[in-house]
Amino acid sequence: MYSEELNDEMNSLEINDIKSIIIKLKTIMEENKDDLCELDAALGDGDLGLTVSKGFREIAANIDELAVKDIGNLLKRSGFILADKVPSTMGTLLASGFMQAGKLLEGKESLTPNEAATLFEGMILGISKRGKAAIGDKTIIDSLYPAHKALEVAAAQELSLKEAFKGAYEQARLGAEHTKEMQSKFGRASKYLERSIGHQDPGATVGALIVEGFHLYINEGNK
């Protein structure tokens, strides 16, 4: 609703695209609320769907009052909202991720494919700084990281944003699924020790959904 049409040649994300993607994420999280709660019920306290759907709802509700020009600022202020409104583990980690991504993209009014990769780099950086988890620890990082890698490679190969996010989404989805084989090292789930194996990590699923939001918006013009 905010963005101009993305045509096939277009290869940057404007601030209005980012806003639209956030609104799209609100819908996606809402639709996946119950499934996420169920995944979290198996490994944690069963509230993850509530947290993330509420988190994106709160950002979306205030999106018009958030910075209009600067993507960095938009992300940072989205992070503040998450920190304030959904201070659970996932909410706080996403907040840190958004804030860090905002820092890296300060002043940007539009993002090149390379800068879109930077956005995810910032997310991962913020999350791992706050939460101390690394790849393979069965967290949201395990879906965001492969997505970020895919975006970097795509940018290096000068692929289109559409191509880039198609690949990134595929990687994120695989990454999330891959967490089934891992043992949780952080959060409530870590107390399950080896019994956490076999369950898909709810946080990693959220990571994949975030990438999916970008992908759907860019590839299906789903605005």
Partner: protein
């Protein structure tokens, strides 16, 4: 779901409004936010302040322990969710008397991150803070990884010790020392018989079949290590005390305090049946129970179940244990 609620998303706010009304003689808000609650007489002059916080759904944890001889303030989260760092900061500012603030809370990822953030912010505002994290739940991690364990009902003892020490006029360092010492000497084991339901989810997060029990379950429904046939009260008590005693290396001649805590739906009558067995076991082992607490001290909504906490005492902890406190829920004269 059978609950006395209105809109599920308003549960925490409405609960707090009722609670602040009922206990207006003891409590007030910080920054007009019902989720930031402090002692009516905060800040208390010349006293290290003790703050806790965490998700809702565990009353009397956390805010129920605000009061003389206990906590100075609490940042309240939504059901089973951490309070925000800005809430914690706001409570911190309201209770600090200049002697510093102790953050004392249970070991859950969200809480740890938010208290950490709040501590960083408080430091920028010139307020000295320190943190001690409750990790009393034996079942949550194996021996050797004690500091990774969850914090559960044993937090009660940490509050009690920290606050009593602070009331004696001790410095933040001293309060931290005693609280960490208490933390190393407290253990909890829980057992659940039925699940609880998050109001916004509307159905139980897990299931325990008729005739079954789960030992080691956490207060948010985190699973335990043993699921099996429901045993007699005496057998369950023996198992829990066994695990605790071993983990705590209890020996003949030791002195302890015991907390028998109901998780929500379990009648007090049953807690006393368990209490009787604890008495018999420790009498048999010649371990002296200096003081026993029985009741609801840390709940999990309407979960049926209970936990036993044991605090190993030395002279200092014993002295602190007997100091009085006056909170909305529990009082000690």
């Amino acid at each position: 779901m059978k609950k006395f609620i209105n809109a599920p998303e308003n549960v925490v706010t409405e609960m707090l409004e009722g609670l602040l009304f009922a206990h207006s003689d003891l409590l007030k808000t910080a920054d007009d936010n019902v989720k930031n609650i402090v002692r009516k007489d905060a800040p208390v002059k010349d006293k290290v302040a003790i703050i806790s916080g965490g998700g809702s759904g565990h009353l009397p944890l956390f805010l129920g322990y605000i009061g003389e001889g206990m906590l100075d303030g609490v940042a309240v989260g939504e059901i089973f969710a951490s309070p925000s760092s800005s809430q914690i900061l706001s409570v911190t500012k309201q209770v600090d008397s200049g002697k510093g603030v102790l953050y004392l809370y249970g070991n859950y990822g969200g809480d740890v991150m938010n208290f950490d953030m709040a501590g960083e912010m408080a430091e920028m505002e010139g307020i000295q803070t320190a943190a001690v994290i409750g990790t009393d739940d034996v079942a949550s991690m194996p021996k050797g990884e004690e500091d990774q364990r969850r914090g559960v009902a044993g937090l009660f003892y940490l509050y009690k010790m920290a606050a009593a020490k602070a009331e004696e006029g001790s410095s933040l360092e001293e309060v931290v020392r005693v609280t960490e010492h208490a933390s190393r000497n407290v253990r909890t084991m829980g057992v659940a018989l039925s699940p609880c339901t998050l109001p916004e989810v509307g159905k139980p997060t897990f299931n325990i079949e008729e005739g079954q029990m789960e030992i080691g379950m956490g207060i948010h429904g985190e699973p335990g290590y043993y699921k099996g046939k429901l045993q007699s009260a005496d057998d369950i008590t023996s198992t829990l005390i066994e695990e605790i005693s071993e983990d705590l290396s209890l020996n003949q001649g030791d002195e302890v305090s015991v907390l028998i805590n109901g998780l929500g739906a379990t009648p007090l009558e049953e807690l006393y049946i368990v209490c009787r067995k604890v008495k018999d076991i420790f009498l048999d082992r010649e371990i002296n129970i200096e003081k026993v607490y029985v009741g609801e001290y840390a709940t999990s909504l309407e979960m049926a179940g209970l936990s036993i906490s044991v605090l190993k005492l030395d002279d200092e902890l014993k002295r602190l244990l007997h100091r009085p406190f006056n909170t909305p829920f529990h009082k000690q004269l």
